[in-house]
């Protein structure tokens, strides 16, 4: 139980996360640039002060777009065990979750426009207490995982 789950996400996930991490930082970056410009233009501060918000948002973008995807991918693991699904994720807060098949009600795969570009999909399985997901699997793998969970769920249907 204490050893990590075996399976990893698709390696393309890293590229996807880098891209989406960069995209979601764009507004923040724009705000940082704007603030820097405003300080340089209207504030009577030394010019170095104007660089502070720009640099800060730049660093945040770099972290979110390049450092975190790598760390997140390394941590994200899953395994379909004999009677439950085993998930582990989280860069700083490491979360390990076990979901028994007997509690899973239905399973979906879904993929957003960006995911489809990369040929990736997310498996979402629902319990009565809400959804759990395995993101960024190669589309055929995701379909396989979905079917396997669905089948195992049917076998252990005791409510």
């Amino acid at each position: 139980m204490r050893e990590e789950p075996k399976e990893r996400l698709d390696p393309r996930a890293k590229t996807l996360w880098r891209l989406s991490g960069f995209l979601e930082m764009l507004p923040v970056l724009a705000a940082g640039l704007g603030l820097g410009w405003a300080v340089a233009r209207y504030g009577d501060q030394p010019p170095a002060m104007a660089a502070v918000p720009v640099l800060a948002t730049l660093v945040a973008t770099l972290v979110n777009a390049f450092v975190l995807p790598e760390l997140r991918w390394r941590r994200w693991r899953y395994e379909i065990r004999e009677d439950e699904v085993d998930l582990q994720h989280g860069v700083f807060w490491v979360v390990r979750t076990l979901v028994p098949f007997a509690r899973i009600q239905h399973v979906d795969t879904r993929s957003g426009p960006l995911q489809r570009r990369f040929g990736l999909a997310t498996v979402v399985f629902y319990t009565a207490a809400g959804p759990n997901r395995i993101p960024e699997l190669a589309a055929p793998v995701a379909a396989e995982v979905r079917d396997r969970i669905a089948e195992l769920t049917r076998e252990r249907d005791e409510l």
Binding site: M1, D83, E84, W93, L98, V99, P100, R103, A128, G130
Partner: protein
């Protein structure tokens, strides 16, 4: 079993009509108020009168039409409900999907001696019941309940078998429950809002001098007046809280159906609620010891139940107040699997510091902010006011640490924690939807973890968690609460 299409009780016309008026009145309120504020003249009054008359007429018509349009029946193994005046709706609920049949008696329904029937399915969980019949006579409601198979009764018996009463709330307990309800906060807010309103009135009708002389006459010292006012508000809020509890929980009766599959709750003075909760749907129970109740050894019981997402009070209170040590006994009467009062394993020593720090950090921030404000030129009053905060925070953190604990007993996870009230949650292993071990960077350094299970509740889920237990115990819980390991320990008939 099939039956003829049936209409609602004629009282439904009045009830639906009044409901419609309520909807329309709120729409008409703003133009109405505007007209009133514009000054009363004869033609405004005439217009108003016309509006009221057409409202009443419209409501009567609407009530009649909706009564005529609403038909329900049971046939082909399903419950059917046809309704809708303008847009016709027909709803079919297969009997095996019917989760519970509740009856609620609002003030209007009481007036006519009828009940509202609410039918819930497992797929529900939204705020609306899946089907509601606003006015049905008692007899028709009982008949419908039998047809829906809610009670396992032999056909032919006219009245529903008397459920076995587990516990009743006595009048004395009801008053104690109100007095210790902890609803003073919300009630005080209400009083505050009301006083705001009276302030306005008072400003309008009393000149400044008159107000001041009145105040001076009442209490010569401003401080005494303020204290008196505060005391008055507190007392009023307390009385309101008691009244609220009495209205909601009067006549609280918890009973169990003869076959033991359902528990029934009935309660309420003005609005009469009768809820039926299938025991198999109970996911977890919580024993809540409020701050005001704990010193007297009192607690309330709540249930987390799947397919019940409605407002908190109706079905989540299993019993409003009882002595703490009788909780396990009452739970055993509901279901053996829920009763547990084992000795709890405390958290490791090294978790103490984390609990205290967690409480202390916001307090220290407040002190820092106040110190900053003091330096910036604000008075020292604020600073001295927040100064005791850190001490209180440390005490609070220590209390939370002392009260936290967990146990695994007979396939049940028992967790105690405190936020304000001390809450003991009991979650049977068979009801756990998922379980997780969470570790923050700091927890990893000291070998602690947070263990969390999720149970179904209402439309979504809710968590039961132990914060900062040692990592080996967390993994052990992870193993022990799994589906496979349990089958050899506590055999459960599968399928």
């Amino acid at each position: 079993m099939s039956s003829e299409p049936r209409h609602l009780h004629p009282a439904a016309m009045v009830i639906e009509g009044i409901r419609a008026v309520r909807g329309w009145a709120s729409a008409a309120a703003i133009p109405g108020l505007a007209a009133l504020l514009g000054g009363l003249s004869w033609w405004v009054l005439a217009l108003l009168l016309l509006g009221v008359v057409s409202l009443i007429f419209g409501a009567a018509l609407w009530g009649f039409l909706s009564w005529r349009a609403t038909v329900y029946w049971v046939s082909g193994g399903a419950f059917h409900l046809r309704s809708g005046v303008l847009q016709k709706k027909e709803r079919t609920i297969p009997l095996e999907h019917v989760q519970s049949v509740d009856t609620v008696q609002g003030i209007l329904q009481r007036l006519f001696g009828v009940v509202e029937v609410r039918i819930e399915t497992a797929g529900g969980g939204s705020s609306e019941p899946d089907a509601a019949l606003p006015a049905v006579s008692r007899k028709a409601a009982d008949k419908l309940r039998r047809e829906l198979g809610g009670e396992g009764v032999e056909p032919g018996v006219e009245d529903v078998p008397v459920p076995r009463i587990i516990r009743r709330l006595s009048t004395r307990d009801l008053l104690v429950a109100g007095a210790t309800s902890g609803q003073i906060g919300p009630a005080a807010a209400l009083v505050g809002a009301a006083s705001q309103f009276f302030d306005e009135l008072y400003d309008r009708f009393l000149s400044e001098e008159a107000a001041r002389s009145l105040l001076e006459a009442l209490a010569p010292h401003a401080f005494a007046a303020a204290a008196l006012l505060l005391l008055g508000v507190g007392l009023l809020a307390w009385l309101l809280a008691i009244a609220g509890t009495v209205l909601a929980y009067a006549g609280f009766t918890l009973s169990r159906s003869p076959d033991g599959r359902n528990v029934h709750i009935s309660r309420g003075l003005l609005n009469r609620y009768e809820a039926t909760i299938p025991v198999s749907r109970i996911q977890a129970v919580r024993v809540v010891e409020g701050v005001l109740r704990q010193p007297f050894g009192l607690a309330s019981l709540r249930v987390e139940s799947a397919g019940y997402g409605r407002d908190e009070g109706v079905s989540t209170t299993l019993f409003p107040m009882l002595p703490r040590r009788e909780a396990a006994e009452l739970l055993a009467a509901v279901d053996e699997g829920l009763a547990a009062d084992p000795p709890l394993t405390p958290l490791p020593r090294r978790a103490f510091r984390r609990y205290v720090l967690r409480a202390l950090l916001p307090a220290l921030l407040a002190v820092l902010a106040a110190a900053g404000a003091w330096l910036a030129g604000a008075g020292a009053v604020w600073f001295s006011a927040v100064l005791p905060l850190p001490v209180l925070a440390v005490l609070y953190g220590a209390l939370r640490y002392r009260d936290a604990g967990w146990a695994l007993e007979g396939g049940r996870l028992v967790v105690r924690s405190r936020l304000v009230a001390r809450t003991t949650s009991i979650a049977p292993r068979r009801r756990l939807q998922s379980r997780s071990v969470l570790r923050s960077p700091l927890q990893r350094r000291v070998g602690l973890a947070t263990f969390r299970v999720r149970v179904a509740s209402g439309g979504g889920g809710t968590g039961v968690e132990v914060v900062d237990l040692d990592l080996p115990s967390a993994w052990r819980l992870m193993d022990a609460l799994g589906p496979s390991s349990a089958s050899d320990r506590d055999p459960v008939p599968s399928r």
